[in-house]
């Protein structure tokens, strides 16, 4: 091997060539395997949405389309989905607005208390959800007991307490995403706008805001998916209200209806379709 004659192409053994081919594509091969791993339970959910089961949807009993024909057939399934979507949209809207304002303050201004505000935004992300849920439950229960005692009201855990909690833990994620976008914005663009006779308000609405908008949209998507999929905090502050994850968890004890699989997989497909359409539209607008 060490004495290859000049002019003869070096031809490694088959084993070496296979090894070289694998090495060049190692990362891509692992990546595809990891993606398959991520999708395995989604496939499982999909397949078992067609299961013609009797009592519990665990063993395969044959193919049927009846769950897809009647996705709201299971009691409470669609109600919980609507609740989740409502809470998701509402908390996304509020958290995105509040978080965006905070991000602008933190990136664009120097003021006393900036460091403390940064930490206040960071700490909720470093706090386990169960602690957030437990502490919120404490103030809601204590607060409602007192208020109801004083005013004879009937405040209780439910839709609004879930929404308040979701807004709270989404704010930090929104701040971080919008901050990143703002920090990568070239400050000269705003100077150029001012130089071209745009006052502060016009500079903001014509230049700054459109350029930060993709970051805000991304933050809103993140907030929505965090809220929509949250179970732990919700389970603490939901009272009798049922979101979709809670519906699945609660019905797990008696056997999950296949309608849950139908809804879960449909949400996956809808989200996938929306994101892909969004990307295509975004790409088209860039041209």
């Amino acid at each position: 091997m060490s004495t290859q004659t000049v002019g003869t192409a070096y031809r490694p053994s088959l084993g070496k060539r296979v090894q070289g081919w694998l090495a060049g594509r190692f990362a891509m091969i692992v990546a595809v395997l990891v993606l398959l791993y991520l999708f395995l339970p989604v496939f499982y959910t999909f397949i078992f949405s067609f299961n013609d089961y009797r009592k519990s949807n665990i063993e395969w009993r044959g193919f049927t389309l009846k769950h897809w024909a009647n996705p709201c057939g299971a009691a409470g399934a669609c109600d919980s989905l609507v609740t989740s979507l409502e809470i998701g949209l509402l908390s996304t809207l509020v958290a995105t607005m509040l978080g965006t304002l905070v991000a602008f303050a933190l990136v664009r201004h120097r003021f006393r208390g900036r460091g403390a505000s940064n930490i206040l935004v960071f700490v909720p992300m470093a706090t386990p959800e169960i602690v957030l849920g437990a502490s919120l439950l404490t103030i809601f229960v204590n607060g409602f007991t007192q208020l109801n005692g004083w005013f004879g009201t009937d405040l209780k855990l439910g839709f609004w307490t879930i929404t308040i909690a979701h807004i709270m833990f989404c704010i930090s994620f929104v701040v971080v995403s919008v901050k990143a976008r703002l920090q990568s914005l070239d400050p000269r663009l705003e100077e150029a706008a001012q130089d071209l006779y745009a006052g502060p308000a016009e500079t903001f609405w014509k230049i700054t805001f459109p350029l930060v908008l993709p970051g805000i949209v991304g933050a809103a998507l993140l907030a929505f998916s965090l809220s929509f999929d949250d179970f732990i905090i919700t389970s603490f502050v939901s009272g009798n209200e049922t979101t979709f994850p809670k519906f699945v968890y609660v019905s797990y004890l008696r056997g999950i209806p296949a309608q849950a699989n139908v809804i879960g997989f449909s949400m996956f497909v809808i989200a996938l379709a929306l994101v892909i359409i969004g990307q295509i539209v975004g790409n088209a607008r860039k041209k």
Partner: protein
């Protein structure tokens, strides 16, 4: 959702320090901050303070489920002695899950950043998409996949590997819990690492060689340090929720030997009469432990970007 990718950002921001306020407008940043910060103060800081107060309550011995205000540190002693194994499991399982998530996430993030080409956007969407099938649904799916009569156990059985698993099975063991935690928080590891690799100059890495092809040394000395901000963000975003999780242990673990702190907090809150102060003390201990670790970690690897 792609915004999550920004979190591994790191790198030097384009803007310098924000300019000093023009005189007379110093109230503007406070006005911008006010609603968000107020929300966090009322629904984050104040509840934590309340939770702390509750963690020091004492109960009436003759009336279980009734408490009075007190400064009873004994709750913490009980929380940390009676439930020490649960704390240990939480840290261990979360640590293992973070490690495995890192091992799986890095090649994926690397491939997305440098190898995927036009497939990059699609791969990004695929990493995020499973979120929308409820995480509870997916975890229950894992329970069926890992079940004694499920496909994974069947394969291991035929490879004569099943006997290496605890109790000769996967489901209802710590293996299943760690697998579930790894799976559920994997995207939180992938996206920040991808973001930091994407910002790195690929030519620097090419100059150093290819991942795994030209040796581990390039990876360790060139690629990994450049993606460090993303790795730090990713490990935090994986470890923190994993350490506080109880759903995986509940759905995939056994009734006794694999419970984590989260399970104890949840059952003390909802299932044990008079468990309220202990649950609060446990929550607070868990938070203190995690915050201490996070701050040590961030300090050790210095990432201002997170704060």
């Amino acid at each position: 959702m792609s915004a999550l990718a920004h979190m591994g950002g790191g790198g030097a921001p384009a803007t310098a320090m924000p300019p000093k306020e023009p005189s007379g407008r110093s109230w503007l940043p406070y006005l911008l901050l006010l609603p968000g910060v107020l929300w966090l103060l009322v629904f984050f800081i104040y509840p934590l303070a309340q939770l702390f107060a509750v963690s020091l309550y004492s109960d009436y011995p003759d009336y279980p489920g009734y408490y009075y205000q007190d400064v009873n540190w004994h709750n913490y002693v009980r929380a940390l002695t009676d439930f020490l194994p649960h704390f240990g499991r939480s840290m261990l399982y979360a640590g293992l899950a973070t490690f495995f998530a890192f091992v799986l996430a890095y090649p994926l993030a690397y491939a997305m950043a440098f190898k995927a080409g036009k497939w990059r956007g699609i791969m990004m969407i695929l990493v995020i998409a499973p979120f929308f099938t409820s995480f509870i649904l997916r975890t229950i799916a894992w329970r069926q996949i890992l079940a004694d009569e499920g496909p994974v156990a069947w394969v291991l059985e035929h490879l004569h590997l099943l006997s290496f698993m605890p109790n000769g099975r996967i489901t209802e063991t710590w293996v299943a819990v760690v697998a579930g935690l790894t799976y559920n928080f994997l995207p939180f590891m992938v996206l920040p690492i991808y973001a930091s690799l994407e910002r790195a100059d690929p030519r620097v890495i090419e100059a150093g060689g290819d991942l795994y092809a030209n040796g581990f040394t390039t990876f360790r000395t060139v690629t990994l340090p450049m993606s460090m901000p993303g790795v730090i963000a990713g490990t935090l975003l994986t470890f923190i929720p994993a350490a506080g999780d109880y759903v995986n242990a509940e759905l995939l673990g056994s009734d006794t030997g694999t419970k984590m702190v989260g399970n104890v907090i949840e059952s003390q809150f909802f299932k044990v009469l008079g468990g309220y102060p202990i649950a609060a003390a446990l929550s607070f201990s868990l938070m203190a432990l995690i915050l201490a670790m996070v701050f040590l970690y961030v300090r050790r690897y210095g990432t201002e970007e997170l704060l």
